[in-house]
């Protein structure tokens, strides 16, 4: 699997390269600033990009901007954004085009290589990987208002949706909640129905379910 990596701190870039290579990813470009990232994304068309939000030259949200621009030119280009902090505002911007292939994780998640690599693979396959912190914030907000879309869901369905928003598979949700995969499937189809999501392939519906809250 071909990966473009953008991270300005040498130690972290080096660590990520080693980590990803250990899991048989092919690093086609490892860059340290916004403009070269954009060029690499458009020229190399990687299977997935792993991008730090804050990059030179401005040290603001250069990486995020480059990823968004690249996705305009290459629709659906899978991007996993890493950051020292997560903002709902940025999560919305990343998910806004509704085409999936988006990840937004805290840098700490790299500490668990297996799960991190699973997230990278999922994003590459067109799914999502939202940091549990982002998801928690979304839920904290929505559960406060009676008019929120969450009000229509049962507590169990909310739990399933939260895990789904993180981008977990049915099997992984079943394991986390200690229920059978069959009941997870039952819950997810209830959620899709309650959120009025159109019939389409499962991965896309999962993205839409997350988007339903963001609005």
């Amino acid at each position: 699997m071909r990966v473009v990596l953008a991270e300005d701190l040498f130690l972290l870039r080096d660590g990520l390269v080693r980590l990803l290579e250990a899991y048989d990813f092919e690093i086609v470009a490892a860059v340290d600033n916004g403009p070269s990232l954009l060029r690499a994304l458009v020229d190399e068309r990687p299977d997935v990009a792993v991008v730090d939000v804050r990059l030179p030259p401005t040290f603001t949200d250069e990486g995020l901007q480059a990823a968004l621009t690249a996705r305009k030119q290459v629709p659906g280009l899978p991007v996993l954004v890493l950051s020292q902090y997560v903002e709902q505002l940025y999560a919305r911007e990343l998910l806004a085009d509704g085409s999936g292939g988006i990840g937004y994780l805290l840098k700490d998640r790299v500490f668990d290589p297996d799960q991190f690599v699973e997230s990278v693979r999922r994003v590459a396959a067109g799914g999502t990987a939202m940091d549990p912190d982002v998801v928690a914030k979304l839920f904290a907000k929505d559960s406060n208002g009676p008019k929120g879309s969450l009000a229509r869901l049962t507590p169990r369905e909310r739990e399933v949706l939260a895990l789904m928003a993180e981008g977990r598979s049915n099997a992984s949700i079943a394991q986390a909640l200690v229920i059978t995969e069959r009941s997870v499937i039952k819950h997810t189809s209830n959620i899709f129905a309650k959120l009025d999501l159109p019939v389409s392939d499962d991965a896309n519906r999962r993205v839409l379910a997350v988007l339903a809250f963001l609005r």
Partner: protein, 413 residues
């Protein structure tokens, strides 16, 4: 026309006239004290004389200021701390002599007994003379008989006929006295304000002195908080990490299973250290503010707030980082307060720029009753804005809704 009220106004001139006479005394006292500075003894006399003079002039400020909106505030520089010894005397004398207000007080004590006295006594004099004219038909015989002055204005009162003329002149005299009283007393008050109120520069200096000391102490408190957070949080966790790794190293050969558990713990501890650092950084300078500026930072705040907040922003550029940061934290605190106390269903935040000022308005439909004189939160926001010459306007009747408007003069880039 309200005769009783105008008469009272005219009578109010009496204490002011008395003060004017007393001020002549304090003028000479202070001037004498200053002229004795060369002889050394002035060093001890000046502060005492000045303070006595100031308390007299302060009474004038209060009495005359009552006729003007906003009154006449005191202009004096704050007193230096007393340390004792000769040096302290010198510092106090210097404090008096370098304060422009001292010299303006002196000018006032010179002008007031001349111009001021005329202004405050004229209405009362006219009224008294008018009453005298009205009584002329009763009094003229006694006055003439005792060989007193029998002129009333231009009429020589020698018989009951001319006494009636005097009565006719007495009526307008009395009326003029009454009618002119409010205007003349006001003119006196204006004159007092010109010399006794703080000048624009003095006001600025006072404001700057106050806000500077507030900024210095609040940033010192901030630094202490950050130091404590780092010390108890990230630093302690890093020490624990080091210790855990040391133990793991020791156990490596004997008990690899235990090492595995220790390493898992260590990884968790490093994640919590990161979380703590992240929260700390957010409190110092929020990442979105650094990345995107005020508008998006406030939008991010709105998203994170448990309340239903909508944000509209029309900012044609970015303000200086300190201004942005002050507004951001102010809005953040207001949203927190609203969530805590007002329980609104909806909050609107508007940001815009007009007339060289950046403004933020936060309106909620909660139950109101926010009062800067009671809550320390609003007072703190006021203080933080004051450092940038900004202001906070609070409109929060009990029962709501609440509108807070924050305003800071600044240029956008």
């Amino acid at each position: 026309m309200n005769i009783a009220k105008d008469a009272r106004t005219a009578v109010a001139g009496l204490p002011l006239a008395g003060l004017a006479v007393v001020e002549v005394f304090f003028f000479s006292l202070l001037v004498t004290a200053i002229s004795l500075l060369g002889a050394g003894i002035g060093l001890f006399l000046i502060p005492a004389a000045a303070i006595a003079a100031r308390s007299t002039v302060n009474i004038t400020r209060r009495l005359a200021g009552a006729r003007l909106e906003g009154g006449i505030p005191e202009p004096y520089l704050p007193e230096p701390p007393r340390e004792g010894g000769l040096k302290s005397w010198w510092a106090r004398t210097q404090w008096i002599l370098t304060d422009p207000a001292t010299w303006r007080d002196l000018a006032w004590m010179l002008v007031n007994p001349v111009v001021g006295l005329v202004l405050v006594l004229l209405p009362l004099t006219l009224i008294a003379f008018g009453v005298f004219g009205l009584l002329m038909p009763l009094l003229w015989e006694d006055i003439s008989g005792s060989g007193g002055n029998n002129w009333y204005w231009f009429v020589k009162v020698t018989d009951s006929q001319s006494a009636l003329y005097a009565l006719g002149l007495g009526i307008p005299t009395l009326l003029i006295g009454l009618v002119s009283a409010p205007a003349l007393m006001r003119a006196h008050a204006q004159l007092a304000r010109t010399l006794l109120a703080p000048t624009e520069t003095a006001r600025k200096v006072l404001h700057l002195t106050r806000t500077r000391s507030e900024v210095v102490s609040s940033s010192a408190a901030e630094l202490r908080r950050i130091e404590r957070d780092l010390h108890d949080g990230a630093q302690a966790r890093l020490v624990a990490l080091g210790m855990n790794l040391g133990v793991a190293e020791q156990l490596l050969a004997k008990d690899p299973e235990a090492v595995r558990a220790i390493l898992a713990d260590t990884r968790k501890a490093s994640a919590s250290a990161l979380t703590e650092l992240r929260d700390l950084i957010r409190g110092i300078h929020p990442p979105v503010l650094a990345d995107r500026g005020l508008a998006d930072a406030v939008r991010a705040l709105a998203l994170d707030s448990p309340l239903d907040v909508s944000v509209t922003a029309e900012l044609p550029g970015r303000a200086d980082a300190p201004v942005e940061s002050a507004l951001y934290f102010a809005v953040s605190e207001i949203l927190t307060n609203a969530a805590k106390h007002a329980s609104p269903t909806h909050v609107d935040v508007d940001l815009w720029y007009a007339d060289g000022r950046i403004r933020a308005q936060v309106s909620d439909d909660g139950h109101g009753g926010a009062d800067p004189s009671r809550g320390t939160g609003l007072r703190g926001i006021e203080r933080r804005l004051a450092a940038f010459d900004g202001v906070l306007a609070v409109h929060s009747p009990v029962g709501g809704p609440t509108t807070l408007t924050l305003e800071i003069p600044c240029a956008l880039s």
